[in-house]
C-alpha cells in the first residue's frame, strides 16, 4: 500500500513534470491526497488525465463566472485553481454552471477547500453525481464507484446559506430536555453571584 505522503509527493512531481507551475503542483499533490483520504479515486483520475493531456487540448479558463461554457473540455486543474482563487467573489453568485469539464473528480478538492475558506457548504452536481462539501471536513456523495470519470457535461455548484438543518421548534424541544441538567439557585446564592451587591454605575 502506498502512503498518502507518497501519493502527494508523486502527484506533485508528476504535475510539475507535465508542465504546471510548482505552486499549482503543490496544490494538486495536496488535492489528490485529499481525494484518496475521502475515498475517491484521485490517483487513478489524474494518471488518466496526464495520459490524455499529451494528445488532447483542454480549455484553460482564467476568469470563472456564473456561467462557463466551452465546446472543448475545460482543464479541471486550471478551472479548480481559478475557482479556488476567485471563490470569495464567486460565492455572491450563489450558483455556478460549467459545461464540459474534463476529469471533473479532479475539480472536487478545490471545491472542498473553497468551502472551508469561504465558510459555506457547497453543493456540487456533476451530471447525475451529487456531492455536498462540509467546510473541507467531510464530503457526502451518491458517487461510490471508484471509476475514472473523463467528462462532466453539466456541472452546477450552489453555495449553501449558513442555515441550521432544523427548525426553531425542534431546537426548543431539544433545549427543553437539556434543561434537565440545570439546578434552580436559592435566593441566597443569587445574592452572591457575579456582580451582586454592586451598582452598575460604580
Amino acid at each position: 500500500m502506498r502512503s498518502f505522503s507518497e501519493i502527494e509527493t508523486a502527484v506533485k512531481r508528476a504535475t510539475r513534470g507535465i508542465g504546471f507551475s510548482w505552486g499549482i503542483s503543490e496544490e494538486v499533490g495536496k488535492n489528490i491526497r485529499l481525494l484518496e483520504m475521502f475515498g475517491l479515486p484521485g490517483f487513478k483520475n489524474i494518471n488518466q488525465y496526464f495520459k490524455i493531456i499529451k494528445t488532447q487540448e483542454f480549455e484553460k479558463i482564467s476568469t470563472v463566472s456564473s456561467i462557463n461554457n466551452s465546446k472543448s473540455l475545460y482543464c479541471p486543474i486550471t478551472m479548480g485553481v481559478n475557482f479556488f482563487d476567485q471563490s470569495i467573489h464567486l460565492k455572491d453568485a450563489n450558483n455556478i454552471e460549467i459545461t464540459n469539464l474534463g476529469f471533473p473528480l479532479l475539480f472536487i478538492p478545490f471545491v472542498s477547500r473553497a468551502s472551508e475558506v469561504i465558510g459555506k457548504r457547497i453543493f456540487l452536481k456533476i451530471d447525475n453525481k451529487e456531492f455536498l462539501f462540509n467546510f473541507n471536513q467531510a464530503v457526502y456523495s451518491n458517487y461510490l464507484s471508484g471509476d475514472i470519470v473523463e467528462k462532466g457535461e453539466k456541472i452546477s455548484l450552489k453555495f449553501m446559506d449558513n442555515n441550521n438543518l432544523f427548525s426553531e421548534e425542534e431546537w426548543s424541544e431539544l433545549y427543553k430536555i437539556s434543561e434537565n441538567t440545570f439546578v434552580e439557585e436559592t435566593d441566597e446564592l443569587k445574592k452572591s453571584a457575579a456582580g451582586a451587591g454592586l451598582t452598575d454605575n460604580d
Binding site: 502512503s3 505522503s5 507518497e6 512531481r13 507551475s21 505552486g23 503543490e26 485553481v81 482563487d85 472551508e116
Partner: protein, 553 residues
C-alpha cells in the same frame, strides 16, 4: 526587563544557522526524557556465531509498545558503502508500532534489508540501515574475545561502532503517515520515533559486539564495559537529502528556532541567577571542552571553526573567571551582551546552548511547541491585497530583496532530484545540465521576482486575482503568508549563490537532532555522532540530564 527576540534577518543567515549546537531542546535529549519511564526490553536476540540474524527491542508503557526489529546481514567488504546508492548494509532496522507477530517479522525480513526498494506498511513507523565502522568494530571484538577492554583512545577517534546512512519516517516507502500517530502525547516532539530507532540501534551494536566476542572465545571473552558503551554513540553520514527539508517545512523550522530564541530571551530576563544555576552553567561549560578537543575532522573549514571556538571559549572562561559579573542582576544578559561583542558565531551559539542547561523550567515547556502542522498554513489567503503582500515582503525579506539576481554568481547553483536515487542534489547552472528541472528551492530568487511584479501591480488587487496571471510564483506567495505568522520560517539567504555552503543547512537540522562532532567530508555531506555519552537503556530511570558533557573521550 524585557529582552527582544533576536532579529530573524541576522539569525536566519546560513552561516549563523550553520553554527548551531545541540542543546537541551535537541530531539535526542527530549526523547530520552520522554521515554525514561517506559519499560525497555530486549524481546528477541537470535544471532548466529558471527552476529548475523534478528533481534527485537522495545519500549512499552500502559497499552502502547514500540518495537525495533533488527536484521543483521553478512555483506562483503566491497559491498559496504555509506553512499545512498548502496544496496546492502551490515544491518537494517524498522520501528514497528506494537508487538510484531512472527508473520510481521517474516514479512519485514523480506522488505527491510532492501530499504528504499522494499515496501513497508502502516504498522511500521521508521526505517533505517547502518554499516559497521569495521576497523573499530573488529578491534572491539578482538579485545573483548581476548578478555580485554578496547583502547579508549582508538574508540574516541571514531565514537561509534555503527554508522547509519539514512533514517526514514513519515510515510516513506509505505511507512505510516504522520497523521495516524500525530496525536500521541509521547511523540509530540519532532523526530521522536527516529530518535528512538537510533537509540535502540545503539544498544543493538553493543549486544552484537558482545555476542560475537563471546562466540569467538567463550572461555575468555568479557563484555564491553558499560562506561565505554556509554561513551559510544551512533554515527551518521548525512548528505544533501536533508537540506531541502528545512526549506520545505517553514512552520516547523520556525517552531524549532522560535523555541531556542524564546529560551534565550527568558534566560536573559532572569534577574537573579542563583549560584547553583550559574555553577551548573559553568560546570557544563568546562566539562564540554572535552567534546570540543575530541572533535576530530579532516575538514579545513570545520577545523578553522573548531580552533576559533577553542580560542573563544578560553577567552570566555577568562572573562567569567574574573568574577566581575558574578553578582550582577540579569547575569545571563550580561554574558550574552559580552559574547555578542567579543566572540564568533560558533562560540556564541555554543554558549547560548549551554545557558539552557540550568533551566528545565524555561526549556521544558517549549518542547511541546516544536512540532508543526504545515497543512494548516497551506491555503493562500486569496482575499488579501497586493499591497499587503508587498508589505510582508518588504518587512520579512528585506535582506533577500538586496540580492542582485542579474549576476550569474547569485544564480550559480540549482537544486534537482537525481533520477537514480530520487535524492536532492545541487549542480552548477552554467556547467551542468538539468537546470530546467530545477526544484522550487531558490526561494530568495523567486521572492525577489515576486516583489518586482508586485511593485508594478495595483495595490487593491486581491491576491486571488493577482494569481490569475502569476501562478508561476504561487509557491512563494504561499510562503510569504507563512512568514507573516512565523518570523523564523525563512532562511534569510540565497540558497543558489556561488558561495552557498550546503552543510550549513545540514548542520542546522542536525544540531536540533542533538548531533555532535560535525565532520564535514566535503561542502555537501558530513558525518556526525548521536547519543555519545547517553545513558544506556537500563539506566534510563535515573540519569544525569547533562549527560552530553560526561564524555570520557
Amino acid at each position: 526587563m524585557e529582552v527582544n527576540l533576536r532579529d530573524p534577518k541576522s539569525l536566519m543567515k546560513l552561516s549563523k544557522l550553520g553554527s548551531f549546537h545541540q542543546s537541551k531542546l535537541s530531539f535526542l535529549r527530549s526523547f530520552l526524557n520522554e521515554f525514561k519511564h517506559w519499560e525497555y526490553r530486549r524481546d528477541l536476540f537470535n544471532l548466529d556465531q558471527k552476529g548475523f540474524g534478528r533481534a527485537v527491542y522495545s519500549f512499552s508503557k500502559n497499552n502502547r509498545t514500540y518495537s525495533l526489529i533488527c536484521f543483521a546481514n553478512e555483506i562483503k567488504d566491497e559491498e559496504r558503502s555509506d553512499r545512498v546508492i548502496a544496496t546492502k548494509w551490515d544491518a537494517a532496522f524498522t520501528l514497528h508500532d506494537g508487538v510484531p507477530s512472527e508473520n510481521d517479522i517474516e514479512r519485514l525480513s523480506k522488505e527491510v534489508p532492501k530499504q528504499e526498494v522494499g515496501r513497508l506498511s502502516y504498522k511500521e513507523l521508521t526505517l533505517s540501515r547502518a554499516n559497521k565502522s569495521v576497523r573499530l568494530f573488529n578491534h572491539v571484538v578482538e579485545c573483548l574475545s581476548n578478555g580485554e577492554q578496547p583502547d579508549i583512545n582508538i574508540l574516541s577517534k571514531v565514537g561509534y561502532l555503527y554508522r547509519t546512512t539514512a533514517v526514514y519516517g513519515s510515510g516513506k516507502f509505505g511507512l505510516a503517515d504522520r497523521f495516524r500517530i500525530k496525536n500521541r502525547d509521547e511523540i509530540l516532539g519532532p523526530f521522536r520515533l527516529e530518535m528512538m530507532l537510533v537509540y535502540l540501534v545503539r544498544q543493538f551494536t553493543f549486544d552484537q559486539v558482545n555476542h560475537i566476542a563471546k562466540n569467538k572465545n567463550p572461555s575468555l571473552a568479557v563484555q564491553l564495559d558499560p562506561n565505554i558503551c556509554r561513551n559510544l554513540g551512533i554515527g551518521n553520514s548525512t548528505g544533501l537529502g536533508m537540506a531541502p527539508f528545512i526549506v520545505n517545512h517553514p512552520a516547523l523550522l520556525n517552531n524549532w528556532i522560535f523555541a531556542r530564541e524564546m529560551a534565550l530571551k527568558k534566560i536573559r530576563e532572569v534577574e537573579k541567577v542563583s549560584k547553583e544555576d550559574f555553577d551548573i552553567f559553568k560546570n557544563c561549560l568546562i566539562k564540554s571542552l572535552k567534546n570540543v578537543t575530541s572533535w576530530h575532522t579532516d575538514s579545513e573549514f570545520q577545523n578553522k571553526k573548531i580552533q576559533k571556538l577553542l580560542i573563544d571559549l578560553e577567552k570566555f572562561i577568562n572573562f567569567i573567571n574574573k568574577g566581575t559579573i558574578d553578582n550582577k542582576p540579569y547575569l545571563f544578559n550580561e554574558i550574552y551582551t559580552w559574547i555578542e561583542d567579543n566572540l564568533s558565531d560558533e562560540c556564541i551559539e555554543y554558549i547560548v546552548s549551554m545557558m539552557m542547561e540550568p533551566y528545565d523550567n524555561i526549556v521544558n515547556p517549549l518542547l511541546k511547541n516544536m512540532s508543526a502542522d504545515e497543512d494548516k498554513y497551506f491555503n493562500i489567503p486569496i482575499d488579501r491585497t497586493v499591497e499587503e503582500l508587498r508589505n510582508i515582503l518588504e518587512k520579512n525579506y528585506s535582506e533577500i530583496l538586496k540580492i542582485d539576481f542579474s549576476k550569474n554568481e547569485n544564480n550559480q547553483n540549482f537544486w534537482f532530484i537525481s533520477k537514480n536515487k530520487e535524492e536532492p542534489r545541487l549542480a552548477d547552472r552554467y556547467n551542468d545540465t538539468g537546470a530546467e528541472l530545477e526544484q522550487p528551492l531558490a526561494i530568495a530568487r523567486d521572492i525577489k521576482k515576486l516583489y518586482e511584479i508586485l511593485f508594478v501591480s495595483k495595490n487593491s488587487l486581491t491576491v486571488g486575482k493577482f494569481l490569475m496571471e502569476h501562478n508561476d510564483l504561487r509557491h512563494v506567495v504561499r510562503r510569504a503568508f507563512v512568514t507573516e505568522k512565523f518570523p523564523y520560517a525563512e532562511i534569510q539567504d540565497n540558497t543558489i549563490g556561488s558561495n552557498l555552503m550546503p552543510i550549513d543547512m545540514l548542520r542546522l537540522k542536525l544540531s536540533f537532532f542533538g548531533a555532535i562532532k560535525f565532520d564535514p567530508r566535503s561542502d555537501k555531506w558530513l558525518r556526525i555522532c548521536m547519543f555519545q555519552g547517553a545513558p544506556l537503556p537500563n539506566e534510563l530511570k535515573s540519569f544525569d540530564s547533562h549527560w552530553v558533557y560526561n564524555s570520557l573521550n
